[in-house]
């Protein structure tokens, strides 16, 4: 079945430090990946995406790295701020015309002041 998280791992970082959130995806045929941020009581918010023909993509304070060899995706947040505290989900698209997303189990990021 689809990926459903039963336990949320937590990453605790000091304000101002860099954060790295990791994700292992399941389908070697996936060709599109997205990172979402979900704050308490809100819906997931689009952060950054990357296609499988790229290894790295940068946004404002965020960088996504894709390693297709080991099916691994990471989100790097520079100079982490208290407002970055949230649950982060990676999602993959199967590469077919359904455009469906499969979500990872999520990581909770806690930023210590």
């Amino acid at each position: 079945g689809e990926s459903v998280g039963l336990h949320l791992p937590t990453l605790s970082v000091q304000e101002g430090d860099n954060s790295i959130i990791n994700c292992a995806y399941s389908n070697s045929a996936s060709d599109y990946f997205i990172w979402y941020k979900q704050e308490s009581g809100k819906g997931p918010q689009f952060i950054i995406d990357i296609r499988s023909n790229m290894d790295k993509r940068q946004g404002q304070r965020v960088t996504v790295l894709l390693n297709k060899t080991v099916k691994h995706l990471s989100l790097q947040i520079a100079a982490t701020q208290p407002g970055d505290s949230a649950v982060y989900f990676c999602a993959e698209a199967k590469g077919d015309s359904s455009y469906k997303l499969i979500f990872g189990s999520g990581t909770r990021l806690l930023v210590r002041p």
Partner: protein, 112 residues
């Protein structure tokens, strides 16, 4: 991008009743989806809402329990039918262009 709104934002319902959740997108999107999310867990896809035709359901979800409509490119509804306490969850609508999806704030449902 697309801005997604949902109504109601939350509700408390009695078992055996039905609730219809509305999803409105601020622009014409090609794709709309419905998800369920248990607190502290990931998102599970319920179905793809197809414009003008029957929705495409994922394994474990059926039309009789979760009828979906999508009359146009900006609006969809999800009905949770004959509710039981196990249906208590957060229901999320997404809309977007191919794989790039944007999410609504969710509908928090509690069934007593």
């Amino acid at each position: 991008s697309a801005v997604i709104s949902q109504k109601p934002s939350r509700d408390i319902c009695q078992r055996g009743t039905s609730l219809t959740i509305q999803c409105q997108v601020d622009s014409q999107v090609t794709m709309m989806f419905w998800y369920r999310q248990q607190p502290g867990q990931s998102l599970t896809l319920i179905a793809t809402a197809n414009q003008g035709s029957e929705a495409t359901y994922e394994s474990g979800f059926v039309i009789d329990k979760f009828p979906i409509s999508r009359p146009n490119l900006t609006f969809s509804t999800l009905t949770v039918s004959n509710m039981s306490p196990e249906d208590s969850s957060i229901y999320l609508c997404s809309g977007g262009y191919e794989e790039t999806q944007y999410f609504g704030p969710g509908t928090r449902l509690l069934v007593l």
